[in-house]
Structures are given as structure tokens and as C-alpha cells.
Symmetry: C2
Subunit: 200 residues, 2 copies
């Protein structure tokens, strides 16, 4: 990676390309929606964005990563929030706090998330990839709980519950219009989890 990459600029063939990453994401989403994910090539994405393939590969390792590049950052943020939750909190409350801490960051990504989810829902391989990423997320949260002194199986169960709640809340958030509030939906979903587990 060159110095220019680190500070977020591109200098393909000597020219500065403003917001290359955003243009590539937009071009990819359009093409995945219009003609299908499997039928889209990196060359076509780059062309529609008015950029070169070389520029594409500076930002993403392949066309799938356009849809999943946020997973690593989300995991880091969640683990960081969990590591910093008050020691006194029961594990399920610490997980809930961590999820709410990252929820705010999604508010400006509602449109992207909605379009992304439609593409993923229509492709079995992408849906599997999403499932695997959420599994990794649950694994990382369980690890963070163990660092807090929570033993297994409680750590694994609390982490899996958290991801299950996140999934249903996220889906509801995506399907709502009119500035939905992911934090609020998460709280409601945690209450639903508690009701279901209590046999209500």
C-alpha cells in the first residue's frame, strides 16, 4: 500500500480520483441490482464508475468484498465497546450496550444497507457469506465476554443471542422507511428475546 492509499486518495495513472471508493460501491450496487451479482465483472464495475480495474483492486480484493468490507470494522467496534462496558454488567446487558453503541453509525447507511440486503437475499452464495460473517462476529463477541471473565457456555450463548437479536433488528430497520432508529429497534428486540426465552 502506498502513502497515498493510507490517507485515502487514489493516484491512478497520475490523476487524482475523488471518492473513487464511493463511486465503485455505487457502480457495483447498480450492476448487481440490474443484471445480477454473478453476471457482473470487476471490469464492468470499474468502467461504470469511470475508473480503471487497477483502481478497483486498490480498494477491494474482489467483487464480493464490495458488499462485505464493512464486516471487519463492525467487529472491531463491537469488541471495543464490549471491552469497555462496565464490569458490573451481566453479559447479556453488556452485549446489548455494545450493539447500541455501534447502531448510531448505521444511521447514514440505511439506503446502502437496504440495497445491499436485497442483492444478498437473491444470491445463495452471498447469503451464506453473510451468515459466516455473522458467525465470526458471534465468535469474536464470545471471546470478548471470556476476557470479561464470563465462562462457557454462558459466553457463547450470550454472544449468539446478541447476534440473533442484531439480525432481526437490522432486518426490521432495513424494511422501515421514515428515518428508523436502529437503537430503539434493538432495545425492543432484546425485550422480545427475553419474552420468548421466558416462554411468553
Amino acid at each position: 500500500m502506498s502513502t497515498t492509499d493510507i490517507i485515502g486518495y487514489d493516484w491512478p495513472m497520475g490523476r487524482w480520483e475523488p471518492n473513487a471508493r464511493g463511486r465503485l460501491v455505487e457502480a457495483a450496487l447498480e450492476l448487481y441490482s440490474d443484471r445480477g451479482y454473478d453476471q457482473t465483472t470487476v471490469a464492468e464495475i470499474a468502467k461504470r464508475a469511470g475508473l480503471t480495474e487497477r483502481t478497483f483492486f486498490r480498494h477491494f480484493t474482489d467483487k464480493r468484498e464490495v458488499l462485505f468490507s464493512g464486516a471487519g470494522e463492525l467487529q472491531q467496534q463491537l469488541v471495543h465497546a464490549l471491552d469497555n462496558a462496565p464490569d458490573s454488567l451481566p453479559s447479556i446487558e453488556a452485549i446489548s450496550l455494545a450493539l447500541e453503541a455501534v447502531a448510531g453509525g448505521f444511521s447514514e447507511r440505511h439506503e446502502f444497507a437496504r440495497r445491499r440486503q436485497t442483492i444478498i437475499a437473491e444470491n445463495a452464495e452471498l447469503a451464506e457469506r453473510e451468515r459466516i460473517k455473522l458467525g465470526s462476529l458471534a465468535f469474536a463477541l464470545a471471546e470478548a465476554l471470556r476476557r470479561r471473565g464470563v465462562s462457557d457456555p454462558a459466553a457463547t450463548l450470550a454472544a449468539e443471542m446478541g447476534i440473533a437479536v442484531f439480525r432481526v433488528a437490522f432486518e426490521r430497520w432495513i424494511n422501515e422507511t421514515n428515518e428508523p432508529d436502529l437503537s430503539h429497534i434493538l432495545r425492543v428486540s432484546f425485550d422480545q428475546l427475553k419474552a420468548v426465552t421466558a416462554g411468553k
Copy 2:
């Protein structure tokens, strides 16, 4: 599929091969353990079992299916048990009942399950496949709950919790020696889930 396949016999090249499937599974597990899953070919599995590749492909579509062929049957049994659970049961109790109903069938497969899990744990691709299969299982359980009149997100949450409990119980069962009782471990794990969710 020929008639002879349906009733469980093989007639490769005119000879009757007793328990070909069991021999193929045993040969595959040995090879996956000894030299690694990626390094093992179908030809080698068939050779070690004293059978032909043609016989292998009568039983399994590929070498991965040796480890995952039980997933479809497990799903059928779970959904069947859930469809037949008393209507009055809350969803989490119905899920618990269904899991216990299939638990007995595992008692004779402890050794196979233990060896299989070791192989899967050592291979990222297989671990992802396992996760995907469990995701499909959760999806099928949620579907069955919706048929019982449970609405979402309760159906999805109850199904995901059931699979999370099944996973942790199954892992504990695998690691125990001395005739462990999966039904009992499942009941204990459900109690742990309830405690975790209640913030204990």
C-alpha cells in the same frame, strides 16, 4: 437411483458389497484425520475401503458430503417433532421438546460425531459449511414455528436460540466420555440460556 439403492444395497460391477457406506465413511474419517481433508481424494477413500470410486459416488456426491449427509435427515426429524409438539407449548418449549426428541438418535453416533468434529474444527472451509448447515436448520425451525402461528421476530429468535443451545450442548456431549446423555445436557443448556437471558 436404482431399486437396489433404495433398499440400501450396492451392486457395483455385479458384486454385493456389504455395508459399503459404512466402510466408505470409516475410510474417509481415517484419511481426513491422518493426512488432512484437503489432501484426501475420493479415489483414495474408495481404495482404502476396498471399493470403487463408482460405488463412492452412489453414496455421496463428493468427499464433503461424507461429513454432512446427516444434516438433511436431522432437519426432517426436528421439523417433524416440532410440527407434532402440543399446540399449547410456548415456542421455546416446543423447540426444546423437538431437540430432545432427536437427541436419543445420537447416542450410538458419539464416536463418529467426535471424530467428525475434530476434522471440521481443523478446516476453515468445513467449519463454515457446518455453520451454514446450522443456519439452514434454524431457518427450517423458524418456518415450522410460523406454521404453528408464531409470528416474527419471535419465531426467528426462538429458532436461533434453539440452534445455539443445540450447538453448545452438542459440543459438551462430544467432549464427554462415559456415555454422556445428550438429552440431559440439552436440558441443562436450556436452563443456562434462560439464566443468561435473564441477566444472571
